[in-house]
Symmetry: C2
Subunit: 436 residues, 2 copies
Amino acid sequence: MASLNVGIIGLGTVGSGCAEILIKNRELVRAKAGVDIRIKKIADLDITRDRGLELKGIPLVTEAMDIIRDPDIQVVVELIGGTTKAREYAEEAITSGKHLVTANKALLAEAGVHLFELAQKANVCIGFEASVAGGIPIITAVKDGLCANYIQKLLAILNGTSNYILTQMQRHHKSYQDVVQEAVRLGFAEDPPTLDVNGTDVCHKLLILLALFYGKWFSMDEIYREGIQRITPQDLTFADEFGYRVKLLAIAKAQGEGLEARVHPVMIPKGHMLAGVEEAYNGIYIEGDFVGPTLFYGLGAGRRPTGSAVVSDLIAIARRLSSGQREFPYCLGSQPLNNLRIKPIEEISMPYYFRFQAQDKPGVLSKISGILAHYQISIASVIQKGRVLHGSVPIVMLTHEAKESAVKKAIKEIDTLDVVSDATVAIRVEGGEGAE
Amino acid sequence: MASLNVGIIGLGTVGSGCAEILIKNRELVRAKAGVDIRIKKIADLDITRDRGLELKGIPLVTEAMDIIRDPDIQVVVELIGGTTKAREYAEEAITSGKHLVTANKALLAEAGVHLFELAQKANVCIGFEASVAGGIPIITAVKDGLCANYIQKLLAILNGTSNYILTQMQRHHKSYQDVVQEAVRLGFAEDPPTLDVNGTDVCHKLLILLALFYGKWFSMDEIYREGIQRITPQDLTFADEFGYRVKLLAIAKAQGEGLEARVHPVMIPKGHMLAGVEEAYNGIYIEGDFVGPTLFYGLGAGRRPTGSAVVSDLIAIARRLSSGQREFPYCLGSQPLNNLRIKPIEEISMPYYFRFQAQDKPGVLSKISGILAHYQISIASVIQKGRVLHGSVPIVMLTHEAKESAVKKAIKEIDTLDVVSDATVAIRVEGGEGAE
């Protein structure tokens, strides 16, 4: 094999990064892959816009099928995003006997089980390093590096936009809305950044990691998710006083056949390695039964880091083909491990942070704590400072482990009290026992 | 292929961990590898000692050659350490057409170039995930995950024993000797832990990482190395006051054909992710030209994490064989990139921390700073507190970037001053620009 011929569908951010690496690092890629990796053709709806790339000699086409049907192309790189056209192209590429490389987490979350089955039948690879945490080689790390372990715990910051927002809110005491507006203006966030902040994007990535861990594709509606939209700078300040940082996390915990899998804001101790993952960085904390605690850190998005991940998949395919491999059963790297079932979040117990917004009157704390006691929710510490905000004061608490279902009922009841002026903010607490 | 047959040479710490995983996680390993991985035979000089393993059915032998000559064994796992016998067994295994898995960094540092050539000729794999940073899948991460990048910078904590010692000294203000004695007593360190604390072990691992980065095996004598034996708790306290932590680091920086590669204690800012890597943990900070900054964290040694790394290599080999691969040119994953040459440390400039032990007399600071000025070493800040220690006071400085050769000359001259009572302690400063 003299070279690997690649067709790229989608010359947006990631497509441009991928092309840039293959052009600029051509010698390096050859030294690593053993063969040349050549871009045979690029498809994009817009073939005139300048991407700052020297594409001389590479044909640009507007029709994705021109790439998929090209008999000289061995690998189709799908980088258009979305799930309709992307799925059509991915399926068409696979059934045409092309290897597929994709950065599309939404596509894998929705159709992973189907695409991997299709790929197995067609005997082709699917490379998806770029689909989770961009520059962090977490797919390889989990699929290959940690493969001797039963993964017992995952705590992961997988969305750079929401981590950037939380970091800015915490550092500069700015409101969620102000930070989002600024991030949109600076081009750091989409307008509006809905899927980034509401947990959907993180959930897509969690589903991919669960498939790698346990060989099974779960579905979106099995995963509880909650975003960061209701967090205030005040909550981040209280968290700081209690010794915590607030992060939007993907969480998985496995024990026997019971699996916790969820996406929501979390308070983690400042001493935990994940607390130091700031700005747009991603951080992935994994505990395996033999390896113990591990952490992987880097940029989760962007043209260059995500391009690096796409090209690593291309190099892997080039190596496989040029070392004579003709069967590709290990794209996912795991057969189903056991009958894991995701526990409803109502069954899970954890410590909680509550911020009640209440009138500054005698007896308020007694009413609230009475309701908590009724639901067996035990208070670990309280801050009540009497700062007046919109005519009400925050009462802030950390609880001991409390059952989610009880917490929901208690909050519902507390929020109907006439001395309580605003919906209660609740943030779950994690990571007390983990790495420093 | 129904199963992969493995022979383990050396049933010490790592060998026991490897066997334990293959036995306890047998189902999981099969789900990940696609086939059974069976321990066909184990060789150790001591075949009677109880390792807390249920080895029923697995023959124990005292002769390593019984494994190497066994025609049913496809992979030889060398876990005896040392470089004499280990090298003999490794060579014999490879030339007998067996794949080799090893945790032996000293062997690879000494004979890597030779063993990989031999393996290429014999068309077998060498797996060495366990040779660097135990549980952190750094070999896979670099070889596969980051392979699209030219690696520009490495800062790495690669020795758990020395990191444990520095952490204890810093936290409890204990002397180097006291901590070492305690660590030896608790079984955390060898007696004496010479290769762990003097930079030799770290240097072995650095050579392996350089081979992965640049496709070239450098030799021990090209790498400047210095250990942690002269660091005092006082230095750690001063470092803390300046906003730094002290770590024993492997460092590599590449620019064009010039390469810095060295092992020595380093002061890094407390905000750098590596500063949070404490106790016996390892942390590896890597910057690639496209991926940007990344960090990998986990346990660098121990039966279970290192066993996990060994088994990941076995699973990789099982996958390759069972997917029909019959050629193995990518064990190292890189051909030589260019004519990289390691710069002598004398040519390198960096900021420095100095602790001078001097008599508490007028004019001392003037004499010292005069000599520094003579060698063009510019002072950034000074602490002189007049605490008397053995009749002398510490004068502590941070410098701006200074050339190593100038620093050596200046210190030599300063140490001959009759007002200076003890050899000057100098610690290089790194990581000002890096990740938080």
